[in-house]
Amino acid sequence: MVELGLVTLSVGLIAGWVGQRSRFCSVGGFRDFLITRDTTLLLGVVALFAAAWLTFPLVEIATSSAAPTVIEQAEGLGAQDPLAVAASDEALSDLDDAGGLPTPPLAAVIFVGGIGVGAVSTVVGGCPFRQHVLAGQGSRQARYYLVGFYIAALAFGFWSPTLLRLILG
C-alpha cells in the first residue's frame, strides 16, 4: 500500500515536471495539427504511444523469468477496475472470451466517452493532464476546472453502476 502510493506519487511528480516544461498535451497535439499543421505537440503523443509500445514487451521479457514482486503480490491480487465491477458480469465475460474485444455496447460507450473528452477538452484548451499541470503552475481557470472534475469523480461513484447496467444490460 505504501509502495503503491510512493510509486504513483513519484511517477506523477516526474510527469508533472516534464509536462510543465514541455507543455505536453494529449488533446493539443491533434488540435494544433488540425488548425495550423503544427506537429510539435502531436510528436509528444506519438512518442508517448511509441515509448509505451516498446516498453510493454521489454518489461514482459525482463519479468518473465523473475518471480512476481512483493508489490504485485500485496496489491495486485483480487483488485478490479471499479468501472469493470460496475458493468454487468456478462458484458465483461464477453470481453474476456473474445480475446480482449469489447462487446459492441461497451465499445459504443467508450467511443462516445472519447468524443466527449476530445470535444470539450479542445474547447477548454487542454487535456485533463494539461489542466492539472496548469493548476499546479498557478492557473485559476484550471483550478476551477479541477473542482468540477473531482465533483464529477465523486458523482461517478453513485451514477455509474445504474447507468452502465442500463446501457450494457
Binding site: 510509486v7 506519487l9 515536471w17 505536453f24 491533434f30 488548425i35 487535456c127 479541477l146 464529477a152
Partner: protein, 157 residues
C-alpha cells in the same frame, strides 16, 4: 537544475518519459489490474477521491480497490516545482464569475465522459500501445471529438 529544466522542453521527450513510466507503474509498479493502469489522471483521480470520502459514505457505490493512487497529486506538485525551478511567473490570468462557472462545468463534463471512455487520453494511448482494442476505440472517439471541437472553435472565431 539547469539541465532538468531545459532538457524536457520538447514534447516528444515528455511523451517518452510519461510513456515509459506509465508502463513501469502499471506492471512492476503494482498499479494493476486492470491492464494499462499505470498512469491516468481521470481513473486515478476518481479512485483517490472515492477512497478519501469512503469512510463518510454508505457503501452504495463500487469502491476503488487500488489505494492510494497519488498520481494526480504528483502531477500538480511536480508542475509547481518545475515552474519554480525554471523561475517562471505563475499563470495569473484574470477570471470572472462566469468563466469560473464555465470551467467548473467543463471539468465536470470532461471527467464524466472520460470515465465512460475508461480513462483520460493518456491512458487510452498507453492502452492502445498495449494493443488493447478498447484503447484504439477510445482514441478514435477522442480524435473525432477534437475535430468537432476544432469546428466549433472555427465557427465561433
Amino acid at each position: 537544475m539547469g539541465a532538468l529544466t531545459r532538457l524536457p522542453q520538447a514534447p516528444w521527450v515528455a511523451g517518452i518519459v510519461v510513456g515509459v513510466l506509465a508502463v513501469l507503474a502499471g506492471t512492476i509498479g503494482g498499479a494493476n489490474p486492470p491492464e494499462a493502469y499505470g498512469f491516468c489522471t481521470t481513473c486515478h483521480g476518481r479512485d483517490l477521491v472515492l477512497g478519501i470520502v469512503q469512510p463518510w459514505l454508505p457503501g452504495t457505490f463500487d469502491l476503488p480497490t487500488l489505494w492510494p493512487l497519488l498520481t494526480v497529486i504528483g502531477v500538480i506538485v511536480g508542475a509547481w516545482l518545475a515552474r519554480r525551478a525554471a523561475h517562471e511567473r505563475p499563470s495569473l490570468e484574470r477570471i470572472d464569475r462566469r468563466l469560473m462557472a464555465i470551467r467548473l462545468i467543463q471539468g465536470f463534463v470532461v471527467m464524466s465522459f472520460a470515465l465512460l471512455a475508461m480513462g483520460c487520453p493518456i491512458r487510452l494511448t498507453v492502452s492502445a500501445a498495449s494493443l488493447a482494442v478498447q484503447g484504439f476505440v477510445g482514441l478514435a472517439g477522442v480524435a473525432l471529438g477534437i475535430w468537432i471541437g476544432v469546428q466549433y472553435l472555427k465557427a465561433r472565431a
